[in-house]
Amino acid sequence: MRFHPASTRCLRLVACFAAALITSSAFAQSVAQLEQQAIRDAIEHVSPTVVQLQIIGGADRLNDVSLASGPSTGVILTPDGYVVTSRYRFEPAPATVVALLADGRQFATEVVAHDYSRKLVLLKLSGAEDLPAAEIAPADSYRVGQWAIAVGRTYRVERPNVSVGIVSALRRIQGRAMQTDAAVSAANYGGPLVDIEGRVLGIIAPMSPSAESSIAGVEWYDSGIGFAAPLAEWMPAFERLKQGEDLQLGYIGIGLVEGVARETPAKIATIAPDGPAAKAGLEKGDTVTAINGVPATTQVEMQAAAKPHYAGDTLEVTYQRGDETSTTTLTLTTIAQLQEAAEAAKAKEEAADEKAEAKEGDADGEEESNAGDSEE
């Protein structure tokens, strides 16, 4: 065969292009294969530490929302059988929970304590020893965009169910959760969100930025909006739960001025009577500027700095009053204690008013102080 020089050149170009196409697609193929293998390995790595929880009894509906009826998922934290899971199926408490491992072992469990803020519950498997414990990804390894694999053990005991995505955002739900686009639902609530090495990033639970109930956020199932409580950051709380201490969201006892939360400074509009802020000497009109030394120039920043802490935690609050900046310490309280204190203060005030009325025979109605509805 003879070729015209021009067509030979053309042919050479085609050939080069074809060769490039083949090598680049071969490369792409090998990357895809490596990626696939890494995902498989990550699942394999975490799988033995993921237990199925057979939930017996408990509600089938809560606040008009149907709850899942199948098994739930938990993660083994220690060889002696501490398991963390989501509170999703624990309100009201089920009659009992039986934990089933992939290797066929099964254990009776007892509830050790609840974390109402991060919506987790700590279980202890009775008589467990030598269990495989989850490897925890260090907090400084979290990166938006990294692989995130959600793992559950709902559909069958011997195999995990998985969904794959990325970490979409960090420090969501006022600093208490990371966000993922991996599909999360009752099929993996309580299970781990793991990185590409199979290390646990967080524990999957339904969460909502605007509500604290155990099922708030379930409406976002499989939507690309999922949350997990970062595990490395939670381990100090685990030590407290282990002692049987229930943990609740900590309240400062202040209401903030109205405004755009992302722009408006954390200026105090109301102080809950006898609450932590009141006891620490904070006053209406003060502006909170830092929590534990972390600057908070807006209400959102203040919430993100404060809400990860639990009732009972001590916070250092820096605030501005007029031109002066001061720092005070206070101990966070629960919403129930805050309401109780406010009611007691109100009752006391009313009693004082009645006394005054009785003395003077008549009195002008005094304006009641209002704690406001945006308690922090």
Partner: protein, 344 residues
């Protein structure tokens, strides 16, 4: 040198063009190749739609060169003929050859003499695993019309698990394994589409809209290709009887509470836990050492979380055979075997 280049160029050219009819999904390298391959074999199906508020469209795939199409059995196929849009926009009538009531698979035949349609190989075999990347092709929401390519979703295989699902009060008939995926395939019109691995091999047929009985959430799943293949065979051979025998085979004389000698605490709420209320003296339950307040968590290998679960499990156990129970007593799990009285 030139000859060698020519061979290479022609070879690679052939490599690209040779993917029309031959079912060599294995050779497909790039996503573009796989996508072309899948689109050529995907069809859009339009029928009458049965009831109000139900869509009158669904997805399907070609499974033979003569124009046989596999899809799901549904109200869309209520009339004997439906309209099928091929990938190239060609509009053809198709007749319903038959449906398999167990798997809800239907086979259509394009009304044409053509015999060179590209198709998915019904004998393709895979070894899927959890975390495996998958592609789902379907005309969900009828987004694609005419010669527009159908929609492709990507995701992973979540788990291979039995189909425990329902729509409203209707339970799915097929209770075998399906491929649950993390892509949102559970949408109007998606049923009948195809689930592929990333090399273009068919893994399964996208199922109808169902909710999981375990999680209460919409289930994204596909019927395994092997099952679809068998179902198509049954339909084409007219041998549908063999499908029906797979349905629940309950024992004629199932185990009973009376026969085993215990009673549960009465069922008062939806999820009443199966606590034992009384054990009859001298009964199999008494001999096995069952006690009041024992909580039955498994019966004959079936997990029992409620009073109703125990009743259902009993119905599946022959009354004349020993039954294994796992009970929770205090915080101890105890395994017992109940041996019916009339056994030697």
């Amino acid at each position: 040198m030139n000859k060698w280049l020519l061979a290479l160029a022609v070879g690679s050219f052939l490599c690209v063009t040779n993917m029309t009819h031959a079912q060599k999904a294995v050779d497909l390298v790039s996503f573009g190749d796989v996508n072309r391959y899948a689109q050529e074999r995907s069809v859009k199906i339009y029928g009458v739609g049965g009831l109000r508020q139900l869509e009158a469209y669904q997805s399907g795939v070609l499974v033979s060169a003569e124009g046989y199409i596999a899809t799901v059995a549904s109200l869309v196929l209520d009339e004997d003929t439906v309209t099928v849009l091929l990938n190239n926009g060609q509009r053809l009538e198709a007749s319903v050859v038959g449906t398999d009531p167990l798997l809800d698979v239907a086979v259509l035949k394009l009304d044409t003499e053509e015999t060179d349609f590209p198709y998915f190989d019904l004998t393709a075999e895979q070894s899927p695993y959890e975390g495996m990347r998958v592609l789902a092709y379907s005309n969900l929401y009828n987004v694609a019309t005419g010669d527009e390519p159908v929609s492709v979703l990507h995701g992973v295989l979540s788990v291979i698990a039995p189909l425990e699902a329902r729509r409203g009060s209707f339970s799915s008939r097929y209770r075998g394994d399906v491929y649950i995926v993390d892509a949102a395939t559970n949408n109007p019109g998606a049923a009948g589409g195809v689930l592929l691995d990333t090399s273009g091999q068919p893994l399964g047929m996208l199922g109808k809209e169902l909710k999981s009985e375990l999680t209460g959430t919409w289930l994204n799943y596909a019927m395994p290709w092997e099952q679809v293949s068998q179902s198509v065979d049954r339909i084409l051979s007219g041998d549908l009887g063999s499908a029906i025998v797979d349905l629940d085979q309950l024992p004629e004389n199932p185990a009973t509470f009376a026969g085993l000698g215990f009673r549960l605490v009465p069922s008062v709420v939806a999820r009443t836990p199966p606590y034992i209320d009384t054990v009859l003296p001298g009964s199999p339950a008494a001999s096995a050492g069952l006690m009041p307040d024992d909580l039955i968590i498994a019966l004959a290998g079936m997990r029992t979380g409620t009073h109703v679960d125990v009743e259902k499990a009993l119905m599946q156990v022959p009354g004349d055979q020993p039954v294994r129970l796992t009970v929770l007593r205090g915080n101890m799990l105890v395994e017992v075997e109940l041996v019916p009285m009339n056994l030697p």
